[in-house]
């Protein structure tokens, strides 16, 4: 069950999105999110949806995996949508019963909200996590945040911490599985009982996990020092990031997305909010 975690799941591929520079992809993702919040009318949401589907097709990531990324958020999406349906007030009353008033605006708003969250998650995973290795991603973040170094922000150290954290996620998952098996062999029961009992049952897993994590961190620190790691100063990279053709295409895609949403907002303002 624990193996289903999709965090940081990279899909090997050679699509446009795979080849693009991580910095470009990061900027693209930020732009995508911002513009998604500008979408106002039914037409602009339809356009955003079409654009995102096109992105999935370009990336070559199977639709099944994309849906899996959204699944854990189903509850949050549903919750926000329901809240919006009941709490938004407007002019056109659709339904009324005692204290419950449902307006047309509320239904539209809820629908848009749900679509927006789904597109956010899908767009981010397709543009970033599914098509960029974690290492490339942190490299990109480091480069983008480089100007902050002038303000004495330890950008390199943050990036290194992120790289290490991501690198050890699969290791930790594997280790959790192993420890769970070991405690099950001693008769541990993680399924039955109330909340308190279930929480208590986790202690024999969490303590060994923490102990070995600390030990591993120690070992890793020593191993890094043995290889003369001294932080970011004067450190060069094996793979220099360079912008290329793919990034120009990505830029054009971004321009299409921005102008598409704005044009739809202005010229096809049906069901606007």
């Amino acid at each position: 069950m624990i193996k289903d975690v999709t965090l940081g799941q990279y899909f090997v591929g050679n699509s446009l999105l795979h080849r693009a520079d991580p910095r470009a992809k990061l900027l693209f993702a930020v732009l995508y999110i911002v513009v998604l919040f500008f979408a106002k009318s039914a037409a602009s949401f339809a356009f955003a949806l079409a654009f995102t589907v096109a992105m999935i097709i370009i990336s070559g990531v199977p639709f099944k995996s994309v849906i899996r990324a959204v699944k854990p958020l189903a509850f949050i999406i549903l919750f926000t949508a329901v809240l919006n349906v009941f709490w938004t007030t407007g002019e056109k009353l659709l339904f009324e019963w005692k204290f419950i008033h449902i307006y047309e605006e509320g239904v539209i708003f809820a629908l848009y909200m749900a679509v927006r969250i789904i597109l956010l998650v899908v767009g981010m995973s397709v543009a970033l996590t599914y098509t960029t290795t974690p290492i490339a991603l942190t490299d990109g973040i480091e480069e983008l945040l480089n100007p902050l170094k002038k303000l004495k922000v330890p950008v390199h150290d943050f990036a290194m911490m992120m790289t290490i954290a991501m690198r050890f996620i699969p290791t930790l998952i594997e280790e959790t599985d192993k420890i769970m098996d070991a405690q099950k062999a001693r008769g541990a029961d993680f399924e039955s009982g109330g909340l308190v009992k279930k929480a208590k049952a986790l202690i024999p897993i969490l303590i060994p996990l923490f102990v070995s994590s600390f030990k591993r961190a120690d070992d890793l620190a020593i191993a890094m020092e043995c290889r003369c790691y001294r932080g970011g100063e004067g450190r060069t990279k094996l793979k220099q990031l360079r912008y290329g053709k793919c990034d120009v295409v990505l830029l054009m895609l971004a321009a299409v997305f921005v102008s598409g949403i704005i044009l739809c907002n202005i010229y096809l303002p049906y069901f606007s909010i």
Partner: protein
């Protein structure tokens, strides 16, 4: 008498995906009561998968696992009872220690069995003595012990459940010779005094030759050879074919035989070799 039996057991990891990997193919195996059985094989040959079958951590795709003649998966809700009867010590078990004192950590298994406190205390003492955990260690924190001591505490934690079958995945990996010997003699004592069966996975042919009554050689998810020491080590060529070997002392003895020394039978342990050589060289006295 057979205590544990695998019949036609198959298991595939990630079944139905492109990453599917057949770990066990039609395994038929009988584990005899009261004996020490050794399992040998390369990394990835399916040993660890098979060990997880013994106590129901993994469920076979097909085939049956019989404990005392009863299918352990007959009632899946009762599987934890099987885990008390077939104790599994995983590889590097020292990483599973968690409690404040060694005593309460060893007591974790018996406590899960729902035993009363007197019985738990008795079992902790007993298991500690089998595994070589000294009395003064019992009230210390498991995290201040050395690697070898932790290993012994973890093994005691399983022994305290008094399993009828004790299964250990490389119990001596990474220990010094003294540590290895302590663990194996402790296991041997547990087997003799409680009448339990012990199953050990190890890469050391020497340890296998010294302590095991029966040997099982696995290769590519199948049972490659099985039998007494003589039956398995006697077929050195077949072992070499899959990149395994016989104990060093056996190689030495066969070289001596080739060189013309009339040594009567195959020798698998250093002690036997010593006895035979001394008597052949006309010794026995100092």
């Amino acid at each position: 008498m057979t205590i544990l039996e695998l019949s036609d057991v198959c298991y595939t990891y990630d079944k139905g995906t492109p990453m599917a990997h057949e770990a066990l193919v039609n395994i038929n195996l009988k584990i005899e009561k009261g004996l020490m059985t050794g399992i040998i094989g390369h990394t990835g040959c399916g040993k660890s998968t098979m060990l997880r079958m013994f106590n129901g951590l993994l469920k076979p795709d097909s085939g049956k696992i019989l404990l005392d003649g009863k299918d352990i998966w007959e009632n899946p809700k009762e599987i934890s009872k099987v885990r008390f009867r077939v104790g599994l010590v995983m590889q590097y078990p020292e990483y599973q220690l968690f409690d404040e004192t060694v005593r309460s950590d060893i007591a974790y298994g018996p406590r899960n069995m729902g035993l009363d406190e007197d019985e738990i205390a008795r079992r902790v003492e007993e298991a500690a003595s089998f595994a070589g955990v000294s009395r003064d260690m019992l009230d210390r924190s498991p995290f201040e012990l050395s690697g070898g001591q932790k290993r012994r505490v973890a093994i005691a934690g399983i022994m305290a459940m008094k399993p009828e079958v004790l299964v250990l995945d490389e119990p001596a990996a990474g220990l010094d010779p003294k540590g290895r010997e302590d663990i194996f003699t402790g296991l041997d004592r547990y087997r003799r005094e409680s009448g339990a069966s012990v199953i050990i996975v190890s890469h050391s042919m020497e340890d296998m030759a010294r302590y095991c009554d029966r040997l099982v050689v696995m290769n590519d998810g199948e049972i490659y050879l099985e039998g007494t020491q003589r039956e398995v080590f006697g077929d050195a060529e077949k072992l070499m074919q899959i990149g395994l070997g016989v104990p060093e002392v056996t190689k030495l003895i066969s070289l001596l035989r080739e060189g013309g020394m009339p040594i009567p039978q195959e020798i698998y342990t250093v002690d036997d070799a010593k006895a035979v050589l001394i008597s052949m060289l006309g010794g026995g006295r100092k």
